[in-house]
Amino acid sequence: MSDYIASSPEELQAMLDSLGLKDLDELTDHLTPAVLLQEDGWDLPSGMSEFEALAKIKKMASHNRIYEDLYRGAGAYRHYIPSLVHALAGRSEFLTAYTPYQAEMSQGLLQSIFEYQTMICELTGMDVSNASVYDGATAAAEALLMCRDPKHRRVLVPSSVHPQILQVIRTYGEAYGMEIAVLDCPNGVLEEAVLREALSEDTACLLLQQPNYFGLIEDAQTLFAAAAEKKVKGILHINPIAAALLPSAKEVGAVIAVGEGQPLGMPLNFGGPYLGFMASVSSLMRKLPGRIVGQSTDHQGRRAYVLTLQAREQHIRREKASSSICSNQALCALRAAIYCSAMGTEGIEQVATHCISNAHYLAEQLCQKTALKLKYTGEFFHEFVTVSDVPSRVLLKHLEDHDILGGLPLNDHEILWCATEVNNKENMDHLVELIGEVAA
């Protein structure tokens, strides 16, 4: 058994002696006796060695199934993660540091967050970025709050947004006293006419996801322009890989860009830790929640970095703060920054191009060689929805039997597929062949 206690029993005793105490139990003798936990009051196994614990954990991990090939996205994407991402972000200096309150001994961390903020600004086209929030869905929820004022409490969201994002913003919206109005998307994307119909005097903002849950590309520019006519703010939830190719959030007229940063160097990890990124135009800078790093100088005029605009935050504003966020996803933000550096603009563009090309190849092959059809006609990025008469579970089961995790079943006959740069032609051809066996 390890207990990570560094003092020897003799040293512990010496400390107890200097306090005039006999043993460790005496330390808590002053506690209300009625609350003291009895030996048999709780049930927990005895400790074990590191070796034994790791064996047990490995056993648990072995109860999960690792697929040879994978075509499922829907908010969690498998991309290639260069080896250096883990090697650098895993350095114990980064790993075991706290939030950089003491700037002089955290310059490397503060600088890397400042660089991350710059990269997020570049990807989104926005002016300012925070140091990260919990995930893409909570980023969207925090963005709604930035748009709220007493006269504007209605939020428009198309049904083409990820259902889990919708669920999260409903929860947050309910707390904030904001009404979430969900707009129908029969064609998989939000139509301008539907939006115009829904815009009202009390609408605060319109949230779009780009590409949306079905993989389709929304006409964000037109939609945000229609919203802006009614002074409704635009929030764009973007996939950071797609952001390398698609018009930036700023270009399409959004005032806040948020998104899930997981594709930038984070493994699937059963859904977390991931990374919420958040950026805005400069006029909303002081409404951004969470940590923000700024550049300044030290007393000798040397360039230096420090947590700034802190008067927005809960530790100063307390009940008047607009968000309670304190810890964020710093290490994930670091991973994203390392990933972006390793890939560069060209590299991420290439990842995006590979994703689109593979996804379109797969869609085309499935439509040509099997009974599957595309549900929507709109342009898509790296995900698409198929329909078929053969039940989804039959198609997917056949793939699973061949060690392939297929797309996400949306219902009995629709499947949401995803291809990224890590899927290759040979494997995709194999998948198409297998689907053809059950849905010719």
Partner: protein
């Protein structure tokens, strides 16, 4: 001056290459970006040098003593990292079929069982990504419970004046009104004031125990009774759980909802500010009102009609849960109790040694942390808590939490944790006494600290008045 990654490399420098595309390249039929994002243009070695160099200008628990009060900066065992990075976890898609993710659910349910035992609660939800997110989720659970019991008039949440700022901020986020509870002269909740304030509008009381002064609320049973009698619920902020594992349980003290910080008490690394994990635990009567989905018996139950809804995508910061589980398994029952006992011993010893020359905020036996006040030195010598902190940096110790709790002037909040050996504590005493000597002999020298760091004290006023929040060629 340290270069930014944008100032390294140059045109044409490329990092990692992708394989050749094997299918026809597809060009989108929708508009594309007109302006390319300007990401760094660096080769692989340049990336490695850059971030290695950055890491050398960050100090973590692996370097030095980090007695940051309320943050529980204990040693982060390396085995936790190995466990969390097993491919059997990292390669698992969150929306894979349930039968394929049984190992992940086993991790969560085993950890839930252990946390129930440690806290005396009946169920945990792991969605919250950090402590403040746990508070928000916990209060939303309370709000949901009250609403479904037609108790909408209960809108007031009590928060002690010594509480962490996230408490009142989370309560307001969840739609409540905050009322502050005063502390008495001993630093505990003023029970009579609380009794006078509790009524039919009371939704909840948020409390951390031991409190932020490091004191165990001796009247805790009476406090929770007052709130329950008034019809409210009691919320436990688990920031200070490291003091009481195996000694006392929030569940037995009358708390209805708790949040824990796996990144504090359960040894998962802080990562420079996250990711953390802030699971919330509840008593039986609140289980149905927790965030959805609920994970039970190897199944993910999406359909939870009484649930408040979803707080986060998927199931929470899973990787952090694996680390915490590994830690609890290794320590076991005896190890966890000893952990808290030694956390208290280390704090009590350090407080005892320091109290020879430093003033303590209260004259009570501390639990796992204590608060010093530099008020006297500030008046007599013109040096403050910040000066002492910066002097500690030069002497190889991370400063304590400064200027918190707000009810103590010139506060330094010290939490040594159980993993530090006696010699480190003795050295800290030597350093802190030396700094007081310096303060009286040469206060200017103390004001000039830190000197040993890559940069000195930073102009924070300038940073906030004219914010520069991103790199641009012209401001480099």
């Amino acid at each position: 001056m340290s270069q930014l990654i944008f100032e390294r490399g140059g045109q044409g420098h490329r990092g990692v290459a992708l394989p050749q595309l094997q299918v026809p390249a597809y060009t989108l039929n929708t508009p594309l970006r007109t302006e390319k994002p300007q990401l760094p243009s660096v080769s692989e070695l340049e990336v490695v040098r850059h971030y290695t160099e950055c890491s050398l200008r960050v100090k973590g628990v692996d370097h030095l003593f980090y007695p940051l009060g309320s943050c529980t900066m204990k040693y982060n065992p390396k085995v936790n990292e190995e466990a969390a990075n097993l491919e059997g976890f990292t390669a698992i898609h969150p929306l894979a079929p349930q039968e394929d993710v049984q190992g992940c659910l086993e991790v969560m349910e085993t950890l839930e069982h252990y946390l129930n035992q440690i806290t005396g609660m009946d169920a945990f939800c792991f969605q919250p990504a950090a402590g403040a997110h746990g508070e928000f989720s916990g209060l939303m659970t309370i709000r949901n419970y009250l609403k479904r019991h037609h108790e909408d008039q209960r809108t007031v949440v009590f928060v002690p004046d010594s509480a962490h700022g996230t408490n009142p901020a989370s309560a307001v986020m969840a739609g409540f009104t905050v009322k502050q509870i005063p502390s008495n002269a001993q630093g505990n909740v003023d029970v009579e004031a609380l009794r006078a304030m509790a009524d039919e509008t009371t939704a909840a009381l948020m409390l951390t125990n031991p409190n932020t002064l490091g004191l165990f609320e001796k009247d805790i049973l009476e406090i929770t009774q007052i709130i329950h009698d008034a019809g409210g619920l009691v919320y436990y902020d688990g920031a200070n759980l490291n003091a009481i594992m195996g000694i006392a349980r929030p569940g037995d003290m009358g708390f209805d909802v708790v949040h824990l910080n796996l990144h504090k008490t359960f040894s998962t690394p802080h990562g420079g500010g996250g990711p953390g994990s802030g699971p919330i635990g509840v008593k039986k009567h609140l289980i149905d009102y927790l965030p959805a989905p609920r994970i039970e018996n190897g199944q993910i139950h999406e359909n939870c009609p009484e649930s408040l809804g979803r707080m986060k995508m998927f199931y929470g910061n899973f990787g952090v849960m694996v680390r915490a589980l590994t830690y609890v398994m290794i320590l076991g029952k005896e190890g966890l109790r000893k952990t808290s006992q030694v956390a208290v011993l280390n704090a009590r010893y350090l407080e005892h040694e320091l109290s020879r020359r430093y003033d303590m905020a209260v004259d009570q036996p501390c639990m796992h942390e204590f608060v010093m006040t530099l008020k006297r030195q500030h008046q007599q010598l013109g040096i403050n808590a910040m000066d002492i902190s910066k002097g500690m940096i030069d002497r190889g110790i991370h400063p304590p939490t400064m200027y918190f709790p707000l009810i103590v002037e010139e506060a330094l909040m010290v939490e040594p944790t159980e993993t530090e050996p006696k010699a480190v504590l003795d050295e800290a005493v030597r350093v802190l006494n030396e700094l007081l000597d310096l303060a009286s002999q040469d206060p200017q020298a103390l004001h000039a600290c830190p000197q040993m760091t890559p940069i000195g004290r930073i102009d924070e006023v300038q940073a906030a008045r004219h914010p520069i929040l991103r790199w641009q060629k012209e401001n480099g």
